[in-house]
Every structure is written in C-alpha cells, then in structure tokens.
C-alpha cells in the first residue's frame, strides 16, 4: 500500500517538474524590449560598467572582432551606454566618458579609435580595475586622475565640463539603459534599441555577428 502511494507521488512530482521542459522556451537568442531604448535606428548599443569583469573581457576580446564587421556588414553605429548605478564611481565615470565622447565627436575622431579620449580613458580605468585590482579606496580624486592622465584631459577641465548641460544631458540619457540591463545583466547588446541579445546564447564571434545582422534587418 505504502509502496504504491510512494510510486504514484514520485511519478506525479516528476511529471510536474518535466512540464516546463516540454512546454518549450521561445526567445533564447534575443528578447524584444517592452520599452525600447531611446536611440536612433541603425545602432548597436552596448550597456556596460567599468567594474564589470565580463564587460572588460568583451571590450578587449569580442568588440574588436565584431564592431568592424557589424559596421561594414550591417551598417550599424556603435553606441556604448555606461551604467552609472554600478561601481563606486559610476556617475563620475559616466560624466567623464560623456565628456570624452563629446570631445571626440567635435574633433571628428571615432570613439573606437585608439587615439580617442574615450578609448584611452575607458582602457585606463578598465586595466586599472581588472588587471591591477585598483579600487581607488582613497576617493574620487584618484579615480578621476586615472582617467585624466590617460585621456589628456585634466581633472580641472573635467570638473568644469561635468556640470555643462551637454555632458549632463548625455550622461543622464544613459540612465534609460538600466531597465534593459536588469533583464539579463551586463554587458548587454541591443540592436536598434529594441532587440536585446541574450549573451548566454552567444557561442562565438561569427554567431554573434550573424545574429546582429539578422536583428538589424527586423522591423
């Protein structure tokens, strides 16, 4: 009697556990955002933070391989959006990077160019954090110095620029990326502001490029 009861209960529990597997899992490669990012069409947004180990690894290993291809083959513009809600100096980093981006744009230099202020500042803070384990425990001034020394923009110039309406506007605009970042963490790649790539589904550089190209063509 007990044996029969036990076997029946076990079978029922197993069936219950199996149901989600049998039901299927749509949207494993990408997700359509309920609230698209306020960015122009033809963009590949990367949501990231200076203190994120995966963001650093993607920046050094994956982005140099995919960005030239998606720009050439899909005609997408790369648009990084720094997440200020992470990291002790998240907002400071956003303001500094926004300032660098605007300067590079005025000078006609691409932010992916090694000579750009944006790339130099970002690389400096990435390497300091992830390779040298720097945490700037002495305060914000030390953090600013890292980015200032690398970009060639002094801390005084930054202090002036960070309060300018353009820098504030650009840094504030990146806050819109937070809901998308919450979905599956960072780095988060979003095509045309609408299609969030599920990074765990990415199996290789070619696969990622092909997926981006496919999403770029979707309405």
């Amino acid at each position: 009697m007990f044996r029969r009861q036990f076997v029946t209960l076990t079978a029922a529990a197993a069936a219950l556990c199996a149901m989600p597997v049998l039901a299927g899992q749509p949207g494993t490669q990408y997700k359509v955002l309920d609230n698209p990012l306020p960015v122009p069409a033809g963009t590949l947004v990367k949501i990231y933070s200076y203190d994120c180990p995966f963001c650093f690894r993607y920046d050094t290993g994956v982005d140099p391989r995919i960005l030239p291809r998606i720009q050439k083959e899909a005609g997408l513009k790369f648009m990084p959006m720094h997440l200020e809600s992470r990291g002790q100096y998240g907002r400071t980093a956003s303001e500094f990077l926004a300032m660098c981006m605007l300067r590079d744009e005025k000078a006609g230099i691409s932010i992916e160019d090694e000579a750009s202020a944006f790339k130099r500042a970002m690389d400096a803070v990435y390497f300091a954090y992830h390779r040298k384990a720097e945490r700037w425990t002495s305060g914000e001034a030390a953090f600013i110095k890292t980015m200032a020394d690398a970009s060639g923009i002094s801390a005084e110039q930054f202090e002036k620029a960070r309060r300018s309406p353009e820098v504030v506007r650009l840094a504030d605009s990146w806050k819109a990326a937070y809901p998308a970042a919450r979905i599956q963490g960072i780095p988060a790649y979003v095509v045309n502001g609408k299609y969030l790539i599920m990074t765990r589904s990415i199996q290789g550089v070619n696969g990622m490029v092909e997926l981006i190209k496919e999403l770029a063509l979707m309405k």
Binding site: C55, A133, R182, Q184, I186, M198
Partner: protein, 221 residues
Amino acid sequence: MSWTERFRSSPLETVSRWSDMRWPWVLIIALSCSLVLVAHYVFQVWLHMKPCEQCVYIRFAFLVIALGALIACIAPRNLWVKLAAAAVSLCGCVYGAMCSLRLNRIHQAVRSDSLDDLFGIQGCSTEPHYPFGLPLEKWAPDWFMPTGDCGYDLAVVPDGMKLSAMQEWLIGLYNSSDGWYLVPSLKFMNMAQCCLLAFIVAALMVLVLACAALRARFRSC
C-alpha cells in the same frame, strides 16, 4: 555494543535508526549554517571580500538545506516529514550546485585568454534574482546583497582601515593568488569548487538518511 560496532555489524539498520533521531539533521543544520556564517563573518567582514551574485545565491542554498533539515527535526520518526525535509534539502543542494558550477565557469572565463570560455554564459546581473522572487537583498542586505564583482575574490580593504597581522597575511596571500583558493600557492580548488563539494556532501548525507528511512519502511510493509 558501541555505535561503531553496531554500524559495522549492520550499517543499514544503524543508519535507519539514525534517521529517526534528531542529531543527524541537527548536524546538517549546523554544517550548513556554519558555512554561511564563515562566508559572512570571516570572508566578507574580516577579510573584506565582498560577495558576488552567485555567492549570495549559494548562501541562500545552504540556508534552504538547513531549513529542510529543520523540518525533519520537527518529527524525525515520521517518514513523510523526513521525505518532505529531504526534498527541500535536496532542492537546496541542486540549486546550490548549479550556482557553484556557474560561478566556476565565471571564475574560469574572467581569467582565461580564450574567447571560447567567455561564450555561452551570462554576464553580471545588476540585481539579484532569488527563487520565488524573494526580496532577500532588501530583507537582509548585509547578507544577501551582492556587492562584489562576479568572478573576482578580491579583498578590498577600506582606506585607513587598520588590519591585524593575520588579516594582512591572509589578504596578501589571497590577493596575490588572484583569488581565494583552498591551497593558494597551487591555485587548488577555488571557492566555487569548494562550495560544489559541500553541496555534494550535503546531498549525500540527506539521500543516505532518506533512503535508509524508506528502506526501513518498505521492509516493515
């Protein structure tokens, strides 16, 4: 006859008898809770190693194991109570093992030069997501809010903090080894692998107790 002689002469009956007692379940509670206490007070507070996302999930898993064992303590002679307790504890073991495996992959990925290690896993979440939507990070942020980086076990000492000689030595040891290891000089067994081993041991203990209890019941039918 001493308990060792009894165990040697009839191990299955002895374990069945043990499963009817409280002490094996209390032992599981004690071990699970100890690991969580060590993680918080020793690693997080004393050695300034902030917990990452998977680390706080692993803490939750150990507490689920302890909860299951606590259920068994209510009525250890009752088979259904023991089975329910074992089911809860085993869920904790499985969940914890999955988080440990994920953490181990993250640990390898952030240290590897190969891009292949980077693909197929998710990055760092901005907020923790506990089972059943439990807002543990709001109820007990000191214990369940991830404040560390995923994949790094770096000790970050606040500026101006005075450390004891032992703290300095241990922090220096782990930071120079690029993370916490059971044997830092050999980089043998990282935190994730140690946690996985703990979950396997816990699962075995629970399974042995549950199976011994079932066996005793089947034999008496």
